[in-house]
Symmetry: C2
Subunit: 161 residues, 2 copies
Amino acid sequence: MSATANPTPLPGDESDSRIMRIGEVAELTGTTPRTIRYYEEIGLLAGGTERELGRHRCYTHADVERIREIVRLKDLLGLSLEQLSQLLEAESARAGIRREFLETDDPDRRHALLLQSRGHIDTQLRLVRARVAELTKLEADLGERAERVQEKLVELETERP
Amino acid sequence: MSATANPTPLPGDESDSRIMRIGEVAELTGTTPRTIRYYEEIGLLAGGTERELGRHRCYTHADVERIREIVRLKDLLGLSLEQLSQLLEAESARAGIRREFLETDDPDRRHALLLQSRGHIDTQLRLVRARVAELTKLEADLGERAERVQEKLVELETERP
DNA sequence: TGCTAAGCTGACGTTTACGTAAGAAACCGC
DNA sequence: GCGGTTTCTTACGTAAACGTCAGCTTAGCA
């Protein structure tokens, strides 16, 4: 028996292809239903398609991953949701891109899609690295200050027994 | 002629001991007068002492440095101003501590002040390092994704001339 | 001494990122 | 098919971090 054949997956199970509702997704991502709806409202999450008004939103594991990524970038880089929208704009149709990638057989088209994906990842990498550099500089500055204080402490301790 | 003897220091001059008003400080720190007043209002900046109501606030280069540090920690660590207040609480009396350090001759007291200063710096260092670790993990994850895309690109290019 | 730029003190406005509440509708197990 | 839970939409509320405006005062200098 494979895990994917399990007819009733465990809650919190991260295997793909399960369909979840907003409450579960919120728990899995450490957010709230309101937050998820808000992200959809401002266009940060797709969700708008293929759902008649009034019916329950449904999500896949890919959506959970995306929300986790949003939260991570938001918290770690301190980006506003609007900045995130722009940053992830290319990726916002990620599911669509992936689908198109799998559906098409045109190598040129696949090539273009891959390039687009790589560009998007590179942008994020640049941001992260710049931030790491700034933090490293801050760490160095703090280290210097710590050292100066330490010197004075040693100095003081040698002065008196 | 030494630079410090210059009776009219250049604007933007970072030499100590000049007394500035809020507009200049705002420019030097990339903030606005309103922001500086607000920081004072919520107790993040001292300023409350030694100034009769209604008179102009005056600042030294040490204040500029402190504001720069606040902005830096706020932006890089994404801390709220209240969190910053707590983090810098010990340091908030920094000028006072420094003065007391210079004034006192009691080695025990000086020792205690130095230890306090070191503890404060260490707290900041821990925060910075934790953040760097998280960002480094994010960088690694992005790197993996970039690699996978790159592999597919190469794969695609070898398939067709 | 008089003028002007800059600063002062309230006080209200604004944006972001959600929280919260209400009433109705959808889903699910039995 | 029905009760109970979850979700839906709509709409108002809120906390943080300032922006902005008004009316008045201060500081510096010609």
